[in-house]
Amino acid sequence: MRDTVGTFPRWLLVPAATSALFIAVPLLAIVLRVDWSQFGALVTSPSSQAALWLSLRTASATTVLCVLLGVPLALVLARARFRGQSLLRSLVLLPMVLPPVVGGIALLYTFGRRGLLGESLEVLGLQIAFSTTAVVLAQTFVALPFLVLSLEGTLRTAGQRYERVAATLGATPTTVLRRVTLPLVLPGLVSGAILSFARALGEFGATITFAGSLQGTTRTLPLEIYLQRETDPDAAVALSLLLVVVAVVVILAVRGNDARQAL
């Protein structure tokens, strides 16, 4: 027994397939260029290992930070009504528009030693720029809008009917958030978190500008790929493929989990 979903016009499959191929073929082209005899050696070199491990750690930390910062912002954007709301939404979009390098400059101007907050931070004994913390901040800066916007969309589409019912049942706004809103938008939140993780994993420009490229501390996988490309394009391609595989594994794992919950 099943609902007869999937009632979309068949001809859509043609543009849909074109679209999928447009993304798939270039990735295939990369796979075809990989020098498989060297692949193992290239991706298990100490510098690759260090970069991969750093990327996974920082992208995970970024995802957590994005959820903590992004869920409240998405809720306020979706549920509150205030003047300047669309300005705030545009502001949130900006890090996606900015070339990441400019984002990195902005972060330097803020958290760097001579930046807006730099001196205050230095008094506290905190040196953020060029540390692993800086990598996380750079990734968060570019990844946060992904979570906020995707979650805001889900919140708006989901509507407030269940939240209203919950309120008449005596649930405080906090309870409503915890027991109704968040569970209902969980698929959207998971998608948003995956987006953030993905964006963080691929982040390059802001990281190299704000955090630099020190092995084991700030040189994430994309930076390592960039560096390798100068001297060893084969290694760069191999590492790119590693990045792709890691991303696919993470996405599939989370999606699988998500799908199980959705049933």
Binding site: V165, A166, L169, P183
Partner: protein, 362 residues
């Protein structure tokens, strides 16, 4: 009116005004009182209850419940602090929770520990006859099943004011009497507003009936009065019943005047139960001499007046009203003052328990 019998400040006093929806309604409920709100589509019934629940903020609202100001004078208490539960036409069960957790939601929000809340939920599900659905997700329930669970969920919050917006619209007729009985038990000590299209609901559950038309209250009075002598167009279309109050003795209803009436009880009615007999005037026959035969109820009455009613005549008497055809009325030569025998079959008389202290039973 009825609030006079209750301490000052108890019960509900509300006024809701919305220009956009052309609604301006004032309403008073005594604590423990159940008021049925009737009215045609678009009259403003749902507007009233959503405003009372705190879900819709009208242009002007002044709501006071048991001494607490819910709205007015710049106050606007949010929904969750009102102690007002609302069950609307759509069940809106939380799709991510099973039936048990849906019902336990209210108690848990009120701070009841998880286990106790679940047990309470199971009791309510049991009461509503859906205990076996406790583990089902809302998507696995039929419309009617879902509505019963939603009813359990609203009741489980033990609200100070319960709002029911056509809660039985989706329930099938075979279970409606059962739910009605349950509701009566529950509403006995609860302040309730019941929006309904069903006169039987009003009869079985309400102390008072308010008829709303075009956003205004056009009738407001004891159930008995509104349903027997409706003054509004809408009231007349749906009501106009005979109601005879008394209490049970030897399986019959006995009025304070000593008149005994046979009828069909809607549920077991032990002796002493305050009861209302409900008869449609259409089922009351008028005889000049007492006839024999199966009809169990023959009541002597004096005609007070005769009202033409389409091609029928409404024969009003000191005991009950009868609706007969013009031809009959002419043949019997009826006029005010005529002594007649009103005859009604026991099977055409529905005996409903009346709520103690309810106007119908006074």
């Amino acid at each position: 009116m009825t609030s006079a019998t209750h301490p000052v400040g108890s019960g509900l006093t509300a006024r809701i005004r919305s220009e956009e929806r052309d609604v301006d309604l004032a309403l008073t409920l005594a604590t423990g009182e159940t008021v049925a709100v009737l009215g045609p589509n678009g009259a403003g019934k749902s507007t009233l209850v959503t405003a009372l629940a705190g879900l819709l903020r009208p242009d002007e609202a002044s709501i006071r419940l048991d001494g607490t100001v819910l709205a007015g004078d710049g106050t606007w208490l949010p929904a969750h602090r009102r102690g007002v539960a609302l069950l609307a036409q759509d069940a809106l069960l939380f799709p991510h929770l099973d039936a048990r957790e849906n019902v336990a939601f209210g108690p848990r929000s009120a701070g009841v520990p998880r286990r106790a809340a679940r047990e309470a939920a199971e009791r309510w599900l049991h009461d509503l006859g859906v205990a076996d659905l406790a583990d089902r997700r809302p998507s696995e329930l039929s419309g009617g099943q879902a509505q019963r669970v939603a009813l359990a969920r609203a009741l489980a919050t033990e609200p100070r004011l319960l709002l029911l917006d056509e809660p039985m619209a989706a329930l099938d007729v075979s279970v409606a009497p059962e739910i009605r009985r349950l509701l009566r038990r529950v509403l006995a000590d609860r302040t309730t507003i019941l929006v309904t299209h069903d006169v039987l609901d009003a009869l079985a559950l309400a102390d008072r009936v308010v008829v709303v038309e075009d956003g205004r209250v056009v009738e407001d009075g004891p159930t008995r009065e509104v349903l027997t002598r409706p003054r509004s167009a809408f009231g007349a279309r749906i009501a106009g019943l005979d109601l005879i109050a008394g209490s049970m003795r030897d399986g019959r209803l006995v009025t304070p005047d000593g008149l005994a009436i046979d009828g069909t009880p809607s549920e077991p009615l032990p002796d002493g139960t305050p009861t209302v007999a409900v008869v449609s005037p259409a089922d009351v026959a008028v005889h000049l001499d007492a006839p024999g035969g199966s009809p169990r109820n023959t009541m002597s009455a004096t005609i007070t007046h005769l009202e033409p009613f389409g091609d029928h005549v409404l024969v009003r008497t000191d005991v009950a009203d009868a609706r007969i055809t013009l031809a009959s009325a002419a043949e019997l030569d009826l006029s005010p003052g005529t002594r007649v025998h009103l005859v009604v079959k026991a099977t055409a008389v529905a005996l409903h328990p009346a709520r103690p202290g309810a106007p119908g039973a006074s």
